[in-house]
């Protein structure tokens, strides 16, 4: 049997039962690899219940620093009898399979083309611990120990991590370390360690990574920190997976960093609302009243917020919404990832609306963009929706460290205070003095005589007086379009990478790829693979809606543009067509919407397939561009 080989380049998958504490142990495994300076990307694939169902944890190790999901399993650690049959089947030929052999492996689970490692996890723990809770829990730590031996993880790092985790609880540290050692020792004694797949510090790891100061964190925590640093003071929310941890983390940091030292009182308010309508209503109220306010939600919550988003658009109230997308429609797969709320967010609510969207691709960007979202919302006086997703929000990503410029000043946009009102020549809430579609707002309580106005979701004239005149209406909604045009220069511009040189290209077409958010990592990886195979593809990563004019130009410059995204209907492609007036034939969708993140492999396959079938058409349709 040919065994899979690879230094710092492989995929390990853990198959567990949820509620058994396995995610913590698996995280320990991933984090140790990260501490060894080797790029790693862990992904927790969990069911929508609390205890007793299959759950998986994928850890990709990639010397080049590819963080997207890879697909395929090189080594499986399976401690869940429920899923074992499928789990065995999913291992790549030549791969490895570690399992609890307290009970012998059923005959039908035996394959010729993979290597088995039986570790009597249950037996060992029953023997070692008498507390049933520990018996359960430490099983996970034992297999991590065994994996450390098999893959050559630096043992001291694991120990350090445990000490950090249980700081102050010495008993727990020692029982965990003991379990770790048990597993390590068993593996060392029983198997031929390390395996042909293994880790190596330094080694083939890309130099720019070795030199980096990377951190390992998830997007939701980063967004929460962004809200802290961006000066958010009011958070109103309603629990929903996978966005819940945004506010959880905000609460945690705020309790630490936002307590008034004198009084012990809070420089923030968090309200768990009764539902998403109320959560958004509170944010609208707080935003109207001059506080930086935000909420976080996922699909169903976005639908429920639709009416309020329309109000905030039309009444021009700053609002920040963090949408951590999951698989829709409806309840869909609540613990699976997608990028499928794009249209629902961009055109949220009835009538003619356009909402500002941000598309972070890394935790670092979750942080930066959340900060920026608060500025944008106040500058543009409109909702700003950050479109994260479960994969980015809830999984740990290797990310450049968060950075903060202490010279940062919150940009509160065009707000007139008492002085401003006194010195303004003529003030009307909806007077477009500067011609950019953005008018001057005032806050309640600011001035005894001036600046009071009525905010409403109905039509009004420039002086904020209720109006049913068609002319007033048209000039107002046209101004809103003008404002949206202005927004193009405010929002983060798209990013391009220098093109990869390709020696012998196999196509005459000028190819490009557009993508955003968590589709970016696998897309970059795919583009490198395709370059290798003779297909040079230029890339642009979209970071915001409305789209920057660079996007139009970029598309113009190419014959065929792949739009890579994680939904069924190619929603970003639609949005681009709508807003940039692009001929559909130029934009080809590359999609994955199975709920697990898109892989480079899938992208490569789809692009190659489409080049096979498309290039002919395209050439004949646009002879001038061929």
């Amino acid at each position: 049997m040919k065994q899979i080989k690879g230094i710092n380049d492989f995929m390990v998958k853990f198959a567990n039962v949820n509620g058994t504490g396995s995610a913590s142990a698996n995280h320990l495994f991933a984090k140790a690899i990260f501490r060894m300076g080797i790029p790693v990307s862990p992904r927790n694939i969990f069911p929508s219940n609390i205890q007793g169902l299959p759950t998986w944890y994928e850890v990709r190790v990639s010397s080049k620093g590819y963080l997207g999901r890879r697909g395929g399993v090189d080594m499986m650690v399976c401690v869940n009898p429920q899923s074992m049959e499928k789990d065995v089947a999913s291992v790549a030929p030549g791969g490895y399979f570690l399992f609890d052999n307290t009970k012998p492996l059923a005959q039908n689970l035996k394959r010729d083309d993979i290597t088995y490692f039986g570790v009597p996890l249950t037996e060992m723990c029953m023997r070692e611990y008498d507390n049933p809770r520990l018996q359960q829990l430490l099983k996970n730590v034992v297999y991590v120990g065994a994996m450390a031996a098999l893959l050559d993880i630096k043992f001291s790092i694991l120990k350090d991590l445990l000490s950090d985790q249980f700081k102050g609880k010495e008993k727990l540290i020692s029982s965990n370390v003991h379990a770790l050692e048990m597993g390590y020792q068993y593996a060392t004694e029983t198997f031929n360690c390390p395996l042909p797949i293994k880790l190596q510090i330094g080694g083939n790891v890309a130099p720019h990574i070795l030199e980096s100061e990377h951190i390992l964190m998830n997007g939701n925590t980063a967004a929460a920190l962004g809200a802290i640093y961006g000066g958010a003071t009011v958070a109103a929310w309603y629990p929903i997976t996978p966005s819940t941890s945004v506010v959880d983390a905000f609460a945690k940091y705020a309790e630490r960093m936002r307590i008034d030292p004198g009084s012990g009182k809070k420089n923030f308010a968090i309200v768990q609302a009764e539902d998403e309508l109320a959560a958004m209503g509170m944010v609208v109220g707080a935003g109207w009243n001059g506080a930086r306010a935000f909420t976080a939600t996922s699909g169903p919550g976005l639908s429920l917020m639709s009416e309020f988003l329309g109000l905030a658009y039309f009444a021009e109230v700053p609002v920040v919404l963090i949408d951590v997308q999951r698989s829709g429609p409806s309840t869909g797969m609540p613990t699976r990832s997608q990028q499928s709320d794009i249209l629902a967010a961009a055109y949220a609510s009835h009538g003619d609306t356009k909402q500002v969207l941000l598309f972070p691709a890394t935790p670092r960007e979750c942080f930066d963009m959340t900060v920026q979202a608060f500025d944008l919302a106040e500058q543009l006086q409109t909702p700003v929706i950050m479109m994260s997703d479960l994969d980015l929000g809830m999984n740990d990503w290797m990310s450049p460290p968060l950075e903060w410029d202490d010279n940062y000043q919150m940009d509160r946009g065009k707000v007139l205070d008492a002085d401003g009102l006194d010195s303004a020549e003529k003030w009307g809430r909806y007077l477009d003095v500067d011609g950019d579609g953005i008018c001057y707002r005032t806050l309640p309580g600011a001035h005894p005589e001036k600046g009071a106005y009525f905010t409403r979701g109905s039509s009004k004239n420039e002086m904020a007086v209720y109006s049913e005149s068609g002319d007033d209406y048209v000039q107002n909604v046209d101004r809103l379009l003008r404002k949206f045009e202005t927004a193009k220069d405010y929002v983060p511009a798209p990013k391009t990478h220098p093109p990869i040189e390709v020696k012998k290209t196999k196509t005459k077409l000028k190819l490009a790829a557009l993508f955003f958010g968590t589709s970016a990592s696998p897309a970059y990886e795919a583009v490198e693979i395709l370059a290798d195979r003779g297909y040079p593809i230029n890339t642009m990563r979209i970071r915001a809606f409305p789209f920057h004019e660079n996007l139009d130009r970029f598309i113009d410059d190419h014959d065929l543009v792949f739009v890579i995204e994680q939904n069924r209907d190619g929603q970003m492609r639609q949005l681009i067509m709508n807003e940039c007036q692009i001929a559909p034939v130029k934009l080809t969708s590359v999609l994955n919407y199975s709920g697990t993140p898109i892989t480079a492999r899938a992208i490569v396959r789809q692009i190659l397939e489409s080049l096979d079938t498309k290039s002919a058409d395209i050439v004949s349709l646009h002879p001038e561009t061929a």
């Binding site: 990260f34 501490r35 990377h214 951190i215 390992l216 964190m217 802290i228 640093y229 000066g231 003071t233 009011v234 109103a236 960093m257 936002r258 008034d260 009084s263 009182k265 809070k266 420089n267 308010a269 968090i270 309200v271 609302a273 009764e274 309508l277 109320a278 958004m280 209503g281 509170m282 944010v283 609208v284 109220g285 707080a286 935003g287 109207w288 009243n289 001059g290 506080a291 306010a293 009416e307 109000l311 460290p401 968060l402 950075e403 903060w404 202490d406 940062y408 919150m410 806050l443 309640p444 309580g445 600011a446 005894p448 005589e449 009071a452 009525f454 905010t455 979701g457 109905s458 209720y466």
Partner: protein
């Protein structure tokens, strides 16, 4: 409704402690129907703010959607106002009050806005004890959408279109009592003497203060009382075109504490208001609920301050909110800076 409002103001109008006249608390001209009870409530709010000498710009007015929710346009033109969406003003008010705990918040709503679409938010607003005065102009119907029964309409009441309401009306004051409101009152739009002090007290209360104000819709529905006596006025009405709304006078009333007053509404039906007597105990929640219920069983509407807990903990207190308004905090208070961030990075390696 009075689109011609005298511009002239008496130079010697009385002033309040701040030197303001009542005209400084004026709003825009009402576009409600002539005689609508809501206009009387607007006037009462205006007067209450004047008498309590609250600086107009330190008040924020919030409402949902409906004839009643239009009211804030018609008083306190120097205050900011927010006419939000139907039934969801409670959440907007909650957010607003968190942003700046120093303003006085007046929420104005209708029975449709509060008891139907707004029921969930209303209950939770009470539960959170947001520091605001919340006034429902209760007419038992949806005025703005032309007279459908609302959820507070009495069982058996007949709408302008002739349908009989088969459902029991929701009693908002009882609900507020049950859900723990620290201030619960009820009054009648035309009873200025009772309503104004109630509003003043509600604004002074440091927590959620609820006032249910019976406010006849002269156009579509007047049947809020449990006892109704139809007259031929009503039949007469029936033959008028549906788009005809006759001009009417506002209804006002005056009666003493401890007495019951029959008020005849424009369609001839009569409601019976019973003013809590001066020895009514306002500090017993259970007793208050029973009193309201008993009055109802007797076909009367109990009015007055029904319950007061001056020490209830409001949301600002519960959340241990800083004294300085959140919307006034700057970078220093809010932004932990690069050093802290670097140490966070350190923890993530």
């Amino acid at each position: 409704m009075s689109y011609i409002k005298p511009k002239f103001r008496h130079p010697n109008l009385p002033t309040n402690a701040l030197g303001f006249t009542v005209a400084d608390y004026d709003g825009a001209i009402s576009t409600l129907c002539a005689g609508c009870g809501h206009d009387s409530i607007s006037a009462a709010i205006q007067n209450a703010c004047f008498l309590s000498a609250i600086p107009p710009h330190r008040i924020a007015k919030l409402s949902g959607i409906g004839c009643s929710s239009k009211m804030p346009t018609y008083f306190l033109g120097k205050s900011h106002g927010f006419n939000s969406v139907h039934g969801r003003m409670p959440s907007v008010a909650t957010g607003a009050s968190l942003a700046n705990r120093e303003l006085t918040y007046i929420g104005v709503s209708g029975d449709g806005d509060t008891a139907s679409i707004g029921m969930g938010q209303f209950v939770h607003l009470i539960r959170r004890n947001v520091n605001m005065a919340y006034i429902v102009a209760n007419n038992g119907c949806y005025g703005l959408t032309k007279g459908q029964d609302s959820a507070t309409a009495d069982l058996g009441s007949v709408s302008k279109y002739g349908s009989t309401n088969p459902f029991d009306g929701i009693d908002l004051a009882s609900l507020a009592l049950l859900q723990g409101a620290g201030f619960v009152g009820r009054s009648f739009s035309g009873d200025k003497e009772q309503l104004e002090p109630l509003i003043r007290a509600a604004m002074a209360h440091k927590g959620f203060a609820f006032i249910d104000v019976v406010s006849p819709c002269v156009t579509f529905n007047n049947h809020l009382g449990s006892t109704k006596s139809y007259t031929e006025t009503r039949e007469h009405l029936d033959s008028m075109p549906l788009d005809f709304v006759p001009m009417r006078e506002e209804i006002s009333t005056h009666y003493d504490a401890g007495t019951t007053q029959g008020v005849t509404l424009h369609d001839g039906s009569v409601i019976h208001l019973h003013k809590a007597s001066s020895d009514y105990q306002t500090d017993d929640r259970n007793a208050a609920m029973i009193s309201v219920q008993n009055a109802k069983d007797e076909g009367r509407i109990l009015t007055g301050l029904l319950y007061l807990d001056p020490n209830s903990q409001n949301l600002d207190q519960n959340l241990k909110l800083a004294t300085k308004p959140l919307n006034e905090m700057g970078k220093d208070e809010l932004c932990p800076g690069s050093r802290v961030l670097n140490s966070i990075n350190e923890g993530l390696r």
